[in-house]
Symmetry: C2
Subunit: 364 residues, 2 copies
């Protein structure tokens, strides 16, 4: 099964899980449909990178589908990860007050719009957030239902469970660390302050993105295949380096990306005031006038297109963008090295190599 | 094991699960502690009713702990339910903007207070909600981890899973139905409008409370014991009737309860504008002056103690309180009948009888 085949198989399982649970929701009343619809729309999108890492993590360790209940059972792991990702995105968008996701209004904005269209009582934004909390909760529980009920044999499931558990707990902690980081004053001038800020930003990357998006899915596939420790260590090296490159690329796209490709408005990360490595490097290298302009514009929720363009130019001129591109190149090289020296199967080596390109491409 | 023994056993498992996950959080950084602390405080409270229903649902069906991996494995089901309940409460309090839970500030209020005390940047209420979303997500995943990793044999787990899944999905749908209900205009004067409103309120009770608090925990215990269909049907009759009585009692306590016993401020349900059966009956029976006073006061977030006292008297005078007490008595009687004619073991019959008293006592 190639990546397209995997994507189709995952989508079929997602459709089946949503249909099953829509039945459970229908027992509650006709209104259940409006709860599941935004979820169904969201899970039709996405690049399925986590699904692919879990899948190739398994095959790369020499795992045989028939040893874990067959192809459908194997695909239940990627499917579960995609549902978990949907839950994380839905709740993250509430926490970040994001407007857009995967080219559509964020789930909480969809519920708020429904509230307005229907002319319901109360605050539409509060209704939207509440609906999205519930929709995310549903995805979280459907994620573990997909894994537990996907046909994997008990011993295989028992091997995967601790990694699944660690992934879920550490992602929440990474998101919390991100929240805390955004809430701290951005002080870069004191002794060691810049280094501390960069270290903190990289720790957020590690837990909110690198482990969650690449390393843990690979390790879940490895656990399913009962892979030897040496291969798991290689997966971690490959995964953490690639995950870092993936997040740094995402940060660049958050400022410079084309909305048609990112599915988010141009410069959205600037409006949200995200303290990415890109932004920190720009602030550090900026002259006083440029720094003042950056501090005034970053985090301004009503920053317009001209303002975004201005900030883009300033960041580019500080050299921060090319510095981040070099960091991406360096992380990609570390990832390729880890893959080259690992004991994965030949087919998986090729697939995981292509996933480096897919995860770090300059177009989203 | 009696109820106190079960409570201790559940608390030991909760402590162990929190300690294990605090270790995973510590890997992310020192800040993880502030994420788990409000959860630890919350799960030390509660009456453990759901835990008890699951436990007695198992024993009442003749289940033997040694057949499902021993006492600790059996207790993992009640523990999982208590963690799920913690998740539901944390997220529900965000959605309802509640201030207090189990005698302490609601989890989102604790995060908001931390934000203020630390003098962090940004909006403290938004930070509080975001922290509570993450804390609730952690409880959801820990609930699943407690059940999956609690030592129950795979075949037993496979029997419990579908009920667990149904419970979680239908609770979210019940909460959504509750949100929708609060957002609709309260129109009681049209033809059949009152009956429609009451039917809707009872449907919320059924899914948000009766099934979730009593029926599903019992059925999970029954599934664990591989109980015959006849007993499951009895459990459903007992559970739905008792669950309805439990929620109606909760509604009465939400208006008339003693804060020292409910753990919530006096009249909190009135301030939140909950459309309980109690409130609907009062509105229906009120004369125009009383109805106007009810409509003005219910849902007023700054309603003071004197206002609460005034509304209490009006509701009492309409006869709604005694009508709800009669409904509770009638539901309790149905529950007792179902228990009396069921095929449960003698010991479980006694315990489930006592749980009727515990769940519907006039003091919280």
């Amino acid at each position: 099964m190639d990546l397209d085949g995997l994507r189709s198989a995952v989508q079929r399982q997602l459709d089946a899980i949503l249909a099953h649970h829509a039945g459970l929701l229908a027992a509650v009343g006709d209104d259940g449909g409006s709860l599941v619809e935004p979820v169904a729309k969201l899970v039709r999108g996405g690049k399925r990178l986590r699904a692919a890492f879990a899948y190739w993590g398994f095959l790369g360790a020499g795992g045989e589908p028939q040893d874990v209940g067959g192809d459908d059972a194997l695909v239940s792991l990627p499917t579960s990860l995609e549902l978990f990702q949907a839950a994380a995105l839905i709740h993250d968008d509430v926490m970040d007050a994001s407007d857009t996701r995967r080219g559509q209004p964020a789930v909480h904005r969809q519920f708020a719009a429904l509230h307005r269209v229907q002319g319901w009582m109360g605050d539409d934004a509060h209704f939207g957030a509440a609906g999205a909390i519930l929709a995310g909760d549903l995805c979280l529980t459907w994620s573990d239902a997909a894994l537990a009920g996907g046909g994997l044999p008990p011993d295989a499931l028992a091997r995967v469970r601790p990694v699944f558990d660690e992934m879920r707990t550490q992602l929440m902690a990474g998101q919390y660390l991100d929240m805390l980081t955004q809430a701290l004053p951005l002080e870069l001038s004191g002794h060691g302050a810049f280094e501390t800020a960069i270290a903190r930003s990289r720790r957020v990357i590690c837990f909110k993105s690198a482990k969650y998006s690449v390393e843990h899915p690979l390790l879940m596939g490895a656990a399913l295949a009962d892979a030897p420790q040496g291969l798991r260590t290689s997966y971690s090296s490959y995964g953490l380096a690639l995950g870092e490159a993936f997040q740094l690329r995402d940060d660049v796209l958050g400022v410079y990306g084309d909305p048609r490709q990112t599915g988010k408005p141009a410069g959205d990360d600037l409006r949200e005031g995200k303290r990415t490595v890109l932004v920190l490097l720009a602030l550090q290298a900026a002259d006083p006038a440029a720094e003042a302009a950056l501090r005034a514009g970053i985090g301004d929720p009503v920053l317009d297109a001209a303002g975004v363009e201005r900030l883009r130019t300033i960041i580019e001129d500080t050299g921060a963008r090319s510095a981040v591109e070099r960091m991406i190149d360096e992380a990609v090289a570390r990832s390729r090295d880890a893959l080259a020296t690992s004991q994965v199967t030949a087919e998986a080596r090729a697939a995981l190599g292509e996933l480096i390109d897919a995860a770090t491409a300059r177009t989203a």
